[in-house]
Symmetry: C2
Subunit: 356 residues, 2 copies
DNA sequence: GTGAAAGCGCTAACAT
DNA sequence: ATGTTAGCGCTTTCAC
């Protein structure tokens, strides 16, 4: 059915070796021969099989990409960066998504290993404690993590703690005192932890009391009554919400609007991710921006440096690469006039009794 | 470096055939032998090479996916549908994006052919006139188009003309008379044409004059002065905009807001795609919804039916599959009281002189 | 400049 | 139940 190099050789009246050379090293074959071979290739519509090629040579020029989901544009943006460089450098991408499921993560890694990918770019829930990554090390399969906040493994990310710290400080600078952090129900990720840490540090530095993250069901149409109660009732209701990612921020904003709250008048919102789409919202979403596309590009470059052996192992190049974050001060944040605020009588009391 | 079946055989003290059987048909080998082999596999951390397997057998269980971009969530949503089924059915996906570039489309197809993908799922700009698709037919490579509006080739899509027709009729039902269609600068796609056709038909049916699509630069931060002039100046300015996709609608909405227009009070907006994200906007974006995820799933199923030969060639199953669209009546559409409108003195005049 | 032949990792007859 | 062997499509010595 599909023509092979043999068919071309027969058609052209040369050996398969000559055909192979005509394809891979045209200058080493007689121009006349070359022409004949090329005509046969065209006539048969022949394309050399990468399978044969890969089996023979040691390189597959295949890179595996494992992402939690594409429903969150964060990962689509990263993938764009990867894809751009991969295409330019003649590599192919094999994509698998996991939906944050450990079984699927394991399966994806197995599958990609079987395809002899030369390396892996991936995002997992928790990099430090992930047994599969140890196995990768053991199997000698090179990988680079994206967005995972760890110093123990090769990774490209922003400093999630510092980024959250900066973002929450900005909220505080706008006069907010009662700031709550919201997280998705799948909050057990390393980056979510780091973001909460940054939040807590910013709060404490300002003499405020951090609260544990409030979990919000991402997929529900409305905010749950208990969450709404947290956000809206009582004199100690928060005036600002730090959402652990932009998609969550958008869901929360919709929930608040449906509960007849005005943004930012009744509640300020700060997201995390810096999705391009956030700027198109009304009001434009304030966010702590990660350079997602660049993270993808950097992960690619790091991986390829290691794959091709260009990697500088002198120790000067560290395992992790931290890209700079930035703050997008969107209109979802309002300033609070401090006169409206009644600070707790004693800071110590406030520390012992979080406002939530 | 990477262990092969030979290494396992040597380690276990059996032949490679036995190892192969232990992997692919465990029940045909002695339980004790099986156990020994499995221990060796674990000890060596062996994974069978798909390259060897694929080369031997005729099936690669590889499907190629070619998409214009992942920056538009439409395609990410489709890909999600595909990925879900592919993973469940043990197929692997090779992804390439083209940025609507013909060279990259050609290159992607070549590359995927070389990898002996069993089929292709793709979205191109214009399916009817696409020479590469003829070449696929010629090469005997199975494919299914997504979102391409053609009856000549295997495809899964909504009825873009009818969908646009329904959407614009809804605008008209809300009292709008001067409705403009906006399209991205890369408007030369089959679906964009069909959508404009539906727009034009709805207008004409209502005795209104359709205008040619107004091109908007997708990537610019602001709407161009000339576009803004079209949209805002004069007594004959449009009261509603039909945007050829949701992303464009969002860009346009931002541009209008920056020009101090209120949505929907000063301008109604209708998008096309039904992006999940649109519902999170404020006001929620009215849109003509395509079931993107389902389109991906259906394309997968069609392709696999053909790949595995399950495809019903009795003629009852048509080349194209049209999935139902739906209207999302978001808050970006306001009703116009007809009394505010001054219809053109003579319909015939109006036909000869479009309002733009 | 070209050809013959080995071998990449694996599966599937066929043989024992 | 297990081993031997041919061969999938290709690249690459090594001859000529």
């Amino acid at each position: 059915m599909i023509p092979t190099i043999k068919d071309v050789a027969a058609h052209a009246g040369f050996s398969i070796a000559t055909v192979s050379r005509a394809i891979n090293a045209p200058h080493t074959v007689n121009p006349v021969t070359l022409d004949t071979v090329r005509q046969s290739i065209d006539a048969l519509n022949f394309r050399p099989s990468q399978l044969g090629r890969q089996l023979r040579g040691e390189r597959t020029r295949l890179i595996g990409v494992i992402l939690p989901t594409l429903a969150n544009p964060v990962f689509a943006e990263c993938l764009q960066g990867i894809d751009e460089l991969a295409a330019a450098q003649g590599y192919r991408l094999m994509l698998m998504t996991t939906q944050y499921d450990a079984d699927r993560e394991r399966h994806a890694i197995e599958t990609l290993r079987e395809h002899r990918v030369e390396g892996l770019i991936l995002t997992v829930a928790d990099a430090d404690t992930h047994p599969l990554l140890d196995e990768l090390d053991r199997a000698g399969l090179l990988y680079v993590l994206m967005h995972n906040d760890t110093v123990r493994r090769p990774s490209v990310s922003v400093d999630n703690r510092l980024a959250a710290f900066d973002g929450v400080r900005m909220l505080i600078a706008h006069g907010h005192r009662r700031i709550l952090m919201l997280a998705g129900t799948l909050a057990a990720s390393d980056r979510a932890r780091q973001r909460h840490l940054g939040y807590a540090q910013a709060m404490q530095q300002a003499g405020l009391t951090p609260a544990p993250p409030l979990e919000v069901d991402f997929n529900a149409d409305e905010l749950s009554p208990s969450v709404l109660a947290h956000l809206t009732s009582g004199p100690n209701r928060p005036t600002a919400l730090f959402c652990s990612n932009d998609l969550l921020a958008m869901v929360v904003m919709r929930g608040l609007r449906r509960a007849r709250l005005q943004i930012p008048h009744d509640m300020s919102i700060l997201g995390f991710d810096g999705l391009a789409m956030g700027e198109l919202l009304s009001p434009p979403l304030a966010s702590i921006c990660a350079p997602n596309r660049e993270i993808g590009c950097a992960a690619w470059q790091r991986l390829l440096a290691r794959v091709t052996g260009t990697y500088d192992t002198s120790g000067e190049t560290s395992l992790t690469l931290t890209l700079p974050h930035s703050l997008r001060e969107g209109a979802t944040i309002a300033a609070i006039s401090n006169s409206n605020e009644k600070p707790p009588a004693h800071a110590s009391v406030s520390v012992e009794r979080p406002f939530v």
